[in-house]
């Protein structure tokens, strides 16, 4: 490191002026309420929202005794990994495509941002209407294409509905992921690509050995953010199936909501929310370890 940077590090206030504001905002807006949430999970809260005192681990015990929890946990894992994996795999070629030169590329880029720009509630509502068994357009299209004979209730059975939920999850995640990768692609200097061509590597080989490794930082960011957002995703499932029938399409996030606002059990819901946080924390740490984040960022 050069002298200039070294002197910066030895400055009197150190990192504080740089990262201080960020830390302050995060502490006030996120950390303190998170603390509150964890605290509530140990409280006895009645149906009106009034705190009735310490409850120990009773809320957690009730939660663990919830018969639907097991299925919900499994479904959550499938939901998170399925959606993020497919999104990442599909976004890579899409980013390449958006980076290539073809007529109308600008318009296609604008079209790609629409699912990101639209609120997820709106997108989920649109899909719900399209997939409706009675007046949805999807049935019309399939019947007109002679793929099916009778209207199908696409969100009718739990497994089929869950598949469609995952498809919509991928649909809303692709634009963001593609643009992060696209931003990453644009930082790859042309000289490196030129040099590769000169060396005789082209197409797939160039992609695999040169471009993809340079995309790692972007992919990491996109994957981590997607893992978190998909885990916390609420509107898609809620709007399209409300986690039903029963609890058959619920994830841990929608279940937490149901415990709070259907079962009116705020304490148990706070314990679910705390457990949710621990789950995603474990996911992310495991992911970062597996993808050797620390090595890579040194």
């Amino acid at each position: 490191m050069t002298q200039a940077l070294k002197s910066q590090r030895r400055s009197r206030f150190g990192a504080w002026p740089w990262i201080g504001p960020a830390i302050l905002m995060i502490l006030v807006v996120v950390v303190w309420p998170a603390f509150e949430m964890a605290r509530t999970s140990f409280q006895n809260v009645d149906m009106t929202g009034t705190n009735k005192g310490w409850a120990g681990i009773r809320n957690y015990q009730t939660l663990l005794r919830n018969p639907d929890l097991h299925g919900v946990l499994i479904r959550t894992i499938i939901w998170v990994f399925g959606v993020v994996l497919v999104t990442t795999l599909v976004s890579l070629p899409i980013a390449q495509l958006l980076n290539s030169n073809f007529p109308g590329r600008k318009v296609v880029r604008w079209a790609t941002i629409v699912p990101w720009a639209a609120s997820v509630v709106m997108t989920a509502t649109a899909w719900k209407w399209i997939l409706d068994g009675f007046y949805g357009v999807m049935n019309n299209v399939f019947i007109d294409l002679h793929l099916i004979k009778e209207p199908v209730d696409w969100l009718g059975t739990p497994k089929q509905a869950f598949l469609w939920l995952m498809i919509v999850g991928v649909f809303v995640s692709i634009p963001f992921t593609s643009f992060v990768i696209l931003a990453g692609l644009s930082t790859i200097p042309h000289d490196i690509l030129e040099a590769a061509k000169v060396d005789g590597a082209s197409g797939w080989a160039a992609y695999r050995t040169i471009i993809f490794p340079l995309l790692r930082p972007s992919l990491m960011v996109a994957a981590v953010i997607n893992l978190i957002n998909v885990f916390n995703s609420f509107p898609i499932i809620w709007v399209m199936t409300t986690g039903g029938p029963g609890y058959e399409t619920d994830t841990t996030t929608t279940l937490a909501y149901k415990i709070s606002f259907r079962d009116q059990d705020i304490g148990q819901s706070a314990s679910m929310a705390t457990v949710n946080f621990l789950i995603i924390l474990v996911f992310i740490i495991a992911f970062l370890k597996v993808s050797k984040w620390r090595e890579q960022s040194e």
Binding site: P21, M47, T48, P67, F134, D153, T242, P245, G246
Partner: protein, 412 residues
Amino acid sequence: MKKVMRRTAITAVFGLIATAALGVTTSTAASQVELKMVAADYANMQPFWDDLSAKFTAANPGIKVSVNVVSWDTIDDKVKTLIATGQTPDIVNKGDYSAPAAAGLLYKASEMVSPSTLADIVPTFLNNSMYNGVAYAVPDLASARALFYNKDILAQAGVKTLPTTWTELEKVLKQIKAKVPGVYPYAIPLGPEEAQAEFAIWAGGNGGRMFANGKWTLNSPKNIATMAFLKKLTDEKLTQPNPAKCDRTACAQTLFAAGKAAFINGSVFLPSWLTANGGAKIKLGSGSFVHGPAQKAVTLGVQDYFTAYKANNHQAEITKFMDFIFQPANYAAFLKAAGGFIPATKSAGTIAAKDPALAPFIKLLPSAIFYPGDQASWPAVKGAIQQSIGTATISDPKKVMNALQAKALAAK
């Protein structure tokens, strides 16, 4: 140099934010009382409430009323959050009252309105606003349900008389299925939107109740039999597929409006809903609900409530505003804004009885059953029913009802 600049800039920004924050805390005049109200949104109610509170402040200078109109599916959360953070509102207009009543948070109905207003409330509705024998809420309006049918479909199927019992119903539905293809004989919505209403109607017709003799009776033999009957109808394809996923408005009523269902359990303003949603051409007939073997026909009454919270000690002002709402002209405007409901007062009721759309429902009210809204745990039980009762039609009714009963008993 840069370091100092940065620190100054950041301090300045935070200083600005702090000043803005402090600047917001303007103090109001000492003699001004502000009533905070949260009201459910029947149908774009904000203009009505804004207008009414302006009129009230003009007549009562010194009392300001701010009304926060919230949609039905978020009002429960909003009120709960307000209470949980010490921001308890003064008046709340929504669909239940028993939980805060049980927690001792509410004024009694007699403390909320003047005696003359209270005397004008229809006794049936006031009786359904009680907790432990004392009225803790003032009903705002009500609706009743009736059986509706598509006259054309019944004529096409050759059905001459309306079924009154379950056995007759099954026969008629099979007849319709055979004679009129492409139509679902009965649209039964057991999806989360209002499954508790659909259940209450069918169960009530079989003599079953959700709560009776001081305890929850969700898994009573009669109720299990009712769900078994509905499962039978579903299995025999006499209903639309998947009742558990069918919500009342988006699914059942929509099917009916498109002429794809013969029977439906509907509310007092189904006719106007149909006209506005593509069902104007449906020739509508109505009658009483079917009942189980050796039972009587019932109808379901649903009402909503005004509740007043003690937290801010504004009893005098609250009473003034509540009486203002119930002044005949204002109350009539309220009913008009909400659209098509049955009034909760006797005086407005006599006027409504002349309305041909409302008259038959008002006549049915004496035989109406209501939700066990006076039970503190009713909101939780309602939530559980909405969530899972539909699954009884695709799995084992006894297991589902037992699970619901367990949830009801566990709810505090």
